[in-house]
Amino acid sequence: MNQRAQSQPTPPGLLARAWDSDFLWSFRHSPVAILSSLVALTLIAAAVLAPVIAPQNPFDPAQLDLMDGLTPPMTPNEVTGRTFLLGTDPQGRDMYSAILYGARISLLVGFASVVFSMVVGITLGLAAGYLGGRVEALIMRIADIQLSFPAILVALLVFGIFRGVVPPAQQEAATLWVLILAIGLSNWAQYARTVRATTMVEKSKVYVDAARLIGLKPFVVMIKHVLPNVMGPVLVIATINLALAIIEEATLSFLGVGMPPTQPSLGTLIRIGQQFLFSGEWWILFSPGLALVLLALSINLLGDWLRDVLNPRLR
């Protein structure tokens, strides 16, 4: 593909060049990318600011009034006369606030597990690519098996072991961390593969030998070259994995092996809401469900777009 003519009289400023770069050009011309990043950023901001913007703290019993229980959205409660944007659950908890707090936990688990799997994956990928031999064969074999094993199954196993090892009294407090660990451990293999491939390419380049000759640590020098090269693909994988991790967390919580009702994520809220589906209180399920779908969909669309722009070959 031909880019533009080389002979530019004066190089435009950095900002102008960034604005004109292929990356931002595609962004400006993709309504999907703009819309989905807006939705995602709004949801993330709302979740981060939950304590500030939520009308009530849904987990502070002092702020709840049982009389408000099961109020449909935007209709005044028959007894107390109060109105709630998205209705309330049986405890009189405002669903809007519950969603904000729930999204906070979902996003926390999502981001933390992505960072965790990124660190594990990049480290193992570097090690495999640089050391080669048996270490590489072992790491990549495990990665293969892990990739063909569904993430949710790996996470469930980690969780099962956790239930067997940790005494019940401490389980609730540790659940959040176990979730991050379980989801993180089920998603590292893709990073490892990408980083290993790039590392192997860089390792064979002359500068690695040159670095050794002038007494620099070749590994350190190489990392400095590998990391910028894998930024693009890693960013794509991380974005798509964030959506996956959020769904995975919601699924685990829905299955009853994730966040407890005292500290509910979106998945836990859906699990609770499902019980009211048959009695007609649809909103208890609907609003956390919608929030989860919007969150996952906007991040997924963003990741899809990023992949097309940064690396069309990565599927």
Partner: protein, 327 residues
């Protein structure tokens, strides 16, 4: 060709032993198997007696061999929670899961390939783009929400279909089937749609992208230069070349069928293996977890083998690779 099949078999065996080792380690080290079996108030002598009977006083490698031997005979010990042999629990639950998984895989593959081919051929068409956008929504929709949505529409609001269970089943030998009764078939519809939906979107997107890739290749261009009609190029030349990568990845995806079966079975209270496993995880019922793990690995190995055989059928380059000059 025989060498090729044998190599697949050998690889499968290695995977099975590795997974069995993980399962055994879980059984051995997660919690105290003896305490779990006899309860807290058992005497020291009882415990030692049980340990000897289970072979837990033997060296670790011997114990593992024991475990392997038992596993080969289908013996995975006794469920901590239900107090029944794990193998009996699995046999009882297996038919429900198999019927659900096979039907949904069938539904997803047939519809997925058809829609994927359509989306690839009409790449710039309005309907094709709508299908692609919808498929991305499908990827972002968690399976359990799809299930709940279907229940709300078809069971709660319309009251057309049952929302849980298998309905009436017919017993044929040790197998139970819901395929022979009206209520059994009705009960299958929503779970099959739920479980099939994710695979459907995945297979569709995969077929589309692989087909577009193939359509860019030289031999397709040459076929066009020979004046072969577009339909023949698409369905004869492109589709068969598309199926090779699709078969691989679809085969690997069977893993997710099993995983999403866990979710689907929970949503629909489907009496299958997935629901059994979730219960086992909730209560740290290690023998059941271990057995389920080995079962999943076994399914994997079998499906991988079938995938390899499908390759042989699809790609003459592989068939010819082993014996030379057969033709």
């Amino acid at each position: 060709m025989l060498a090729y099949v044998l190599r697949s078999l050998a690889q499968g065996a290695v995977v099975l032993v590795a997974v069995a080792f993980i399962a055994f380690s879980m059984f051995r080290f997660v919690g105290d198997p003896i305490a779990n079996m006899v309860g807290q108030e058992a005497s020291m002598a009882d415990r030692e007696e049980l340990a000897r009977r289970l072979g837990l006083d033997q060296p670790f490698p011997i114990q593992f061999l024991h475990f392997l031997g038992n596993a080969l005979q289908g013996d995975f010990g006794i469920s901590y929670r239900q107090g029944r042999p794990v193998s009996a629990l699995i046999a009882e639950r297996l038919p429900a899961t198999v019927e659900l998984a096979v039907l949904s895989a069938l539904f997803a593959t047939v519809l997925g390939v058809a829609l994927g081919v359509y989306a690839a051929i009409r790449r710039r068409g309005v309907l094709a783009n709508a299908v692609m956008t919808l498929s991305l929504v499908g990827v972002s929709l968690p399976t359990f929400l799809i299930g709940i949505g279907l229940i709300y529409v078809f069971a709660v609001e319309l009251r057309w279909l049952p929302s849980f269970g298998r309905g009436e089943t017919v017993r044929i030998g040790w197998w139970t089937t819901g395929l022979l009764t009206w209520s059994g078939l009705q009960s299958l519809i929503l779970p099959v749609l739920t479980l099939g939906f994710f695979q459907l979107t995945l297979i569709m997107r995969l077929v589309r992208s692989e087909m577009l890739e193939v359509m860019r290749s030289d031999f397709i261009r040459f076929a066009r230069a020979r004046g072969i009609p577009a339909r023949v190029i698409e369905f004869r030349h492109a589709l068969r070349n598309t199926m090779i990568p699709v078969v691989t990845i679809a085969g690997l995806q069977l893993g997710s069928v099993i995983a999403f079966a866990i979710v689907t079975e929970t949503v629909f209270q489907w009496p299958g293996l997935g629901a059994l496993f979730v219960n086992a995880v909730q209560f740290a019922d290690v023998p059941v977890m271990a057995a389920y793990l080995v079962f999943v690995a076994f399914v994997f190995v079998v499906v991988n083998l079938l995938t390899d055989l499908a390759y042989l059928a699809l790609d003459p380059r592989l068939r010819a690779a082993a014996p030379k000059g057969a033709r």
